[in-house]
Amino acid sequence: MTPAQIPVQTLVPQGEHPPAWKWYDYFTFNIDHKVIGIQYLVLAFLSYLVGGVMALGMRAELYTPDSDFLAPAVYNALLTNHGTIMIFFWVVPAAIGGFGNFLIPLMIGARDMAFPKLNAIAFWLNPPAAILLMTSLFFGGSQSGWTAYPPLSLITASHAQSLWILSIILVGTSSILGSLNFVITIWKMRVPSMKLDEVPLFCWAMLATSILALFSTPVLAIGLTLLFFDINFGTSFFRPEAGGDVVMYQHLFWFYSHPAVYLMILPIFGIMSEVIPVHARRPIFGYKAIAYSSLAICVVGLFVWVHHMFSSGTPPWMRLFFTVSTLLVAVPTGVKIFGWVATLWGGKIRFTTAMLFAIGMLSMFVVGGLSGVTLGAPAFDLHVHDTYYIVGHFHYVLFGGSVFGLYAGIYHWFPKITGRMLNEPLGRLHFAMTFVGTHLTFLPMHELGMKGMPRRVAMYDPQFEFLNHLCTFGAILLGLSVLPLLINAIWSWSRGPKAGDNPWRALSLEWTTSSPPLVENWPVLPVVTVGPYDYGTKESS
């Protein structure tokens, strides 16, 4: 592209900005992308703690085979809301809303997003959504899992289920508004001196994420709206006794919710592509391959959703088609994995906490990705459907993948966001506890599932007791592992050593401004002279 495509108009300055935001600015309708990013990150992290406590409640219940710690209805409410919170209120808002908003304008040399007010509106849809979800707990909590399949969602806890639907529709609206903002920002607002192949890979990943969200979220909104009508207004879209179709809901749900898996992992892939070259001091291996593989995942990811429904009476031709497309997604994903490994190869690796988490993510995601490939085969999928094998698989992807990636991002960009360094020894402790805890919690689940332990049930056969003990111990370790991070973040935010503009000697544009960045990001927009990954070259060693 030519620089002329990005005209910069000089408008009349609209009033003075404060030199830096005060603490109370973070509780207001503020249109600065950095404030919004921090708002997303903090709200998401608080939700993460709530969802984590719910998981600990479930693991405590599952310590023994009998249902003795929680009433079964409470257990169901916890499992529904644990999943909902972790997906819709932690990983998605933290990765897309948090890092996306904070980093994208900084990375592409823009002063803000394309539509700053819309951005703030998108964020402020989240707190009411969280309140709706919390309110649903007072009506018994929805019982039907985060998938909310009818008929279960039609016949249990209808008030709680209705509030749950409204909450998700609000979050979905926020996601659509945020995504269109990202698409226009990345496409139109790059600094003139930045060529298309100098756009940081995080932005490519966010572009793919946003397109995916724009195409899939409305379909979920329709599915949930119809479910809401079925529950409250007497329609029968998903009531088979009146001509409706329950499998129809599953199609609508998974048309969004499989791409949602990529919404949760593509931004993490972007974070990985930023963290690894900086701390390995090597140019990223295969820039174009990694950039385009994000788009490939985005396209193929829209056509794989039925692999969640192999046991829903799916006809054989459909199984065949979706098996092939599912296995196909492994290819662009593999391109990225090999790209990162090749970047590490021969690099001058600095084992900072961010790098530890990035390497941890790499190893865990490979496990989760490969078990995902096994699930793409219907014969095996039917055997382990709705067992703990599934639970183990997606926690390796979403915890070992997404959450580790988020942790890597937090340790990498905390100096930029706050202007202070995090404490490294505490970070390593955090990493060690999380790494051990993750394997201890989720590895035994694969065996439990192969042996036939069903998921989403508060009771289980006594033969599974030992492995469940391991899972519960791992979960306690994971629960404790958040403490070093919390202490570290709170302490370092006020008292950590000053970071300086560029503590990692990174090359992407966000490191060319002060830490924390100025209100308008730069006094004068930066000029791109080196690519974002030109480490080890003459200009920058």
């Binding site: 495509q5 002063r111 308008e520």
Partner: protein
Amino acid sequence: MQTSPPTLDGASPAAAPAHHEAHPDYRVYGLVTFLVSESLMFGALFTIYLVFRGAAVAWPPEGTEVELVLPAINTLILVSSSFVIHLGDQAIKKNQVVAMRWWYLLTAVMGATFLAGQAYEYLSLGYGLTTNLFANCFYVMTGFHGLHVFVGLLMILGVLWRSRRPGHYSDHKHVGIEMAEIYWHFVDIIWVILFTLIYVLTLF
């Protein structure tokens, strides 16, 4: 799209304190992106409708037949309103604010007539939302579309309200007018598909 010659660093130092809006207006891009996303909502509804139709023995079932004359007139009104609103857009591009206002007012009246016609149809049909699966689909789909017509109407009224002030819109400053027009065309296209699926297909 206006372009200005790029400077070396993309912005002169004088532009530095300028606020967030210091870039060209991308609102039309934003709206189009949003409408692509919105169309997936209708796409989902159309798909559901066709699947239900394919699985049903009789569609629509006896007793819930649709009316055809009134919706056909309504379709005519809505489709023509798309041309009317375009005349308004043409007018503002020639800097004729008064003409633009008259065309937009006419569009608003046509849109309101459409909604009134739809309300009359609902009241005269003799079956309700919960009667059967076809009625479910009929009311939810036309109602959801009606909601969009209503939003489009509000946008047009917003344009009319803002254009009271002289100089608010002109031949080189009319993004709001353009957005209302694009949205109105979108609503119109969706209606044509909806009309074909729900009304015309019942003849076959």
